[in-house]
Amino acid sequence: MLLLVISMLTFGAMNVLGDPLFNILGVTASATDEDSLQKIEAAKEEYNLDDPLPVRYAIWLGGFVQGDFGVQFSEDGQPPVRNLIVERLPRTLSLVILAQLMALAISLPWALWSASRADSKADKVSTVGAFLTISIPNFALAVILSYILSIKLGWFPLVYEADAPFPSRLHAMILPAFTLALPAAAVYQRLLRTDLITTLQEDFILTARAKGVSRRSILFKHALRPSLFSFVTVFGITTGALIGGALVVESIFLIPGLGRAIVEAVLREDFPVVLAIVMIVAAIFVLLNLVIDLIYSLIDPRVRR
């Protein structure tokens, strides 16, 4: 299945193009004295480095499936990868979730507002605004926002601290989440607006209007539902994209999350960490797709077989 393929690819790439012995032992790997040679032998045995690639893959897979993610090669003392994941995954997840919540909170009212005023001057301005927001690269946005809100106004802290109490951690996450949320919100807004405008011109809306149903009720109860269809798709895809965006944002705002971990791990060629994180992210993607499909069947009975 999908995850299998991904894991094979990553494993293969790292082992073929990198050098596992060096990663594990560092400089010692090329030393020739007695001591070092012993260490090299020990490492080779422990990590089955003399076995062919497929065998090593199978061994890794076996352990992985049972929850043993291996150890971090590049960290002193080689702590288990699991610790890293357990510590960092929640941070990244909360960042993404917070961002999506913000994006929703921003985009829904915005879309409703602009759909009900379609083609008015205000709406045109807002469309342009949305467009501009999408066009800014997220790292540039991060730089700009942190400059204005952290440095100049001082509303948000500069650094994220892992051991601070929950409220201040939350506070430190707001700006990074907002950086991710803003472009996503603009995307949602544009999509929703288009869909809403389409739906609003449907017959059944006119019927409801004729019956005297309030404007607000129309917007919320009747117009949104069909629009949700494509929205849910984009929402799901955006979540995936946000995980990628979290990488950049984590690096800029110095949040010790999964994104930063994998960037560092790839640069230091720490295989187990890379593999574990890639697998987890891929798993999340797959899960997301499943959830989306589920939601489809919920909101549109005709899709159910």
């Binding site: 999908l2 060096f22 560092g26 590049s74 003392g77 650094v159 110095l254 010790p256």
Partner: protein, 602 residues
């Protein structure tokens, strides 16, 4: 009744999307050809390892591994009266008596991988943290002499500088209750010496067996290969940290314990969140007096500007930095106290004399001549750094005024490079020598330094740039897989302790003599100078050595690194440290300070 026939198409498309992923997930994997790699060739296979992890966004050049403070110590020694002048101690005086309490939050250049002195290559940040939790056997006093600290005494055996008898104090216990005796010392020392990485800087000076003899429960004898009158200085740094033998043994079995150090120091390890914060709390039963601070927290902040900003905002109370921009920023705020130290390392571009093109001295000289030093001092040094022609600042007694660096002369460089290219055309393209400049990725300052240097060098050289992760960078340097790197070195308090980077014996497969340059006559001078305490002789010898270094064109000195340890207004006592015999001790060393005497007012 709605009719939406075209919707079906859309649904089909979207559903197809979704269901394909489902199908893919449900069915077995079919053949796939999505390949990640195309070009068959890949770069060299050197990869990262557990060597030290200094971030370099701070400084124009990098730190050496095994700490510049490994077995051989640091900084240039000084005459007694010049001490005050060289280390600029900008701490407030007249602050009253120490009061207990407060948590000191300290901003570091980077985090470290581990805190085990016997196996972790501790860089500046690592050594700083170690200063909180470990004590060293000896310590530098304000006159540049290494005096006993954890040790009770350290004396040469019958005046023979190759045999040193060390006696430690009694009645001290480690944080985990293990009593301190000579076996702990021996174990710390030997474990470090045997470590394949950290031991590289230790081994060259001791015999393979019998490096240390146990005399009794509190005494040991160190046997060196050559006489070294400054051996006590070697125990002021990483080699001198004394760790709990119980902990060391446990860590060998469970390496995760490397993150939880156990020593005898003024603070006890409390908690650690890598890349975020490491916390130590007061050791109420510290053997050398009262400790005032409740706790010390270390926060790695790789970006120098941000670090300075945090101090100015009050988010941290102290920091270490060698970034000229950050120092200027701190200078602007008069409430910030800074201890500035110029006597430590030098920053330079280093050439590998072990492989072409820099195995030829003409290429080396050409690169030196072509270096745009003036622009460097102006644009990177920002007027804060002083140019370096050698390993000593002008105020040092070892300073050789005859040694001057001739740079900013692209014309003279061209003459040499033309000559070289005439003879060795295979290393040249279009009349310029081909070379590669390597430095750690992730530092904007280093990018700028590299760009600037290339501006000057490009008249005679075709420079390709390689940025690689920090760990890999140090490895490549050690393995001699480089042409030119940006580096930082030579911060020993006494020059004898910098020999490890220069001797012939440290040229090897893994070489701490980074430029891989062996000169037996230079070795002779170095060993002579470390074997005598006669000032006049030493001064003369070191001046000769400096001249040799200059004439061999191995290090293109750019500037003396300026370290600043900056503190908030309410932090005091940084320079009040004393030995058990009440000898006033040196305040800072290579960007690090100690914590036992620090206290905070409101």
């Amino acid at each position: 009744m709605r009719t939406r026939p075209s919707r079906r198409a859309a649904k089909y498309g979207l559903a197809a999307l979704v269901s394909f992923s489902l199908i893919a997930a449900a069915c077995g994997g079919s053949d796939d050809n999505a390949s990640d790699d195309t070009t068959a060739d890949s770069t060299a296979d050197t990869t990262a390892d557990t060597s030290d992890a200094t971030a370099t966004s701070d400084a124009p050049t990098t730190d050496a591994p095994a700490g510049t403070d490994a077995p051989e110590g640091t900084d240039a020694p000084t005459g007694t009266e010049v001490k005050e002048g060289e280390i600029d101690i900008g701490m407030n005086t007249d602050v009253g008596d120490p009061v207990p309490g407060g948590t000191l939050r300290y901003g570091l250049e980077a985090d470290v991988d581990g805190l085990n002195p016997t196996s972790s290559a501790l860089s500046a940040p690592g050594l700083m943290m170690a200063n909180a939790v470990f004590d060293t056997l000896t310590a530098w006093d304000v006159d540049g002499k290494a005096v006993p600290y954890l040790a009770e005494s350290i004396e040469p055996l019958d005046g023979d500088f190759s045999k040193w008898v060390l006696t430690i104090r009694q009645g001290i216990t480690f944080h985990d209750g293990t009593p301190l005796n000579i076996d702990a010392i021996i174990q710390s020392f030997e474990t470090q010496r045997q470590d394949p990485l950290v031991g590289l800087a230790v081994k060259p000076f001791y015999p393979e067996t019998g490096a240390v003899d146990r005399i009794d429960d509190y005494t040991a004898q160190f046997n060196l290969l050559e006489p070294n009158a400054f051996f006590p200085g070697a125990l002021t740094g990483q080699l001198g940290y004394v760790s709990s033998p119980t902990w060391i043994a446990a860590a060998l079995d469970d390496p995760t314990l490397n993150q939880k150090p156990v020593g005898t120091g003024p603070f006890v390890f409390d908690s650690r969140s890598p890349d975020s914060v490491t916390r130590f709390v007061r050791n109420d039963s510290w053997w050398n007096g009262e400790v005032y601070l409740d706790a010390v927290e270390f926060v790695p902040v790789p970006d120098a500007d941000t670090r300075a900003e945090l101090l100015l905002e009050g988010d941290i109370n102290a920091l270490q930095t060698s970034d000229p921009g950050a120092i200027l920023k701190l200078d602007e705020d008069s409430s910030v106290q800074q201890v500035k130290d110029e006597t430590s390392e030098e920053g330079f571009a280093m050439m590998n004399s072990g492989s072409p093109p820099f195995d030829d001295i003409r290429a080396r000289e050409a690169l030196t001549l072509a270096t745009p030093e003036e622009n460097y001092l102006n644009l990177i040094g920002l007027g804060v750094l002083r140019p370096a022609s050698q390993r000593y600042i002008p105020e040092s007694k070892y300073y050789n005024p005859d040694v001057t660096m001739h740079m900013d002369d692209p014309a003279a460089a061209k003459v040499l490079s033309d000559e070289y290219c005439g003879e060795v055309p295979e290393n040249c393209t279009d009349g310029k020598i081909n070379m590669e400049l390597q430095y750690p990725a992730g530092s904007v300052v280093l990018d700028q330094t590299s760009d600037l240097l290339i501006q000057g060098w490009s008249g005679s050289f075709n420079v390709t740039v390689q940025t690689i992760p920090q760990d890999e960078h140090i490895q490549e340097a050690a393995l001699g897989q480089y042409n030119v790197v940006l580096w930082r070195q030579f911060g020993a308090e006494d020059p004898a302790l910098d020999n490890v980077w220069l001797l012939c014996r440290t040229v090897g497969g893994i070489s701490l003599n980074w430029p891989k340059f062996c000169d037996p006559s230079r070795d002779e001078l170095l060993l002579q100078a470390q074997a005598t305490t006669d000032e006049a002789t030493r001064i003369d010898l070191y001046k000769q050595i400096e001249q040799k270094l200059h004439d061999d064109y191995l290090y293109i000195f750019l500037a003396h690194t300026l370290w600043s340890n900056a503190f908030a207004e309410n932090v005091h006592g940084v320079c009040d440290r004393v030995s058990p015999e009440d000898v006033p001790l040196r305040c800072v060393s290579n960007g690090r300070n100690w914590f036992s005497s620090i206290w905070m007012s409101e």
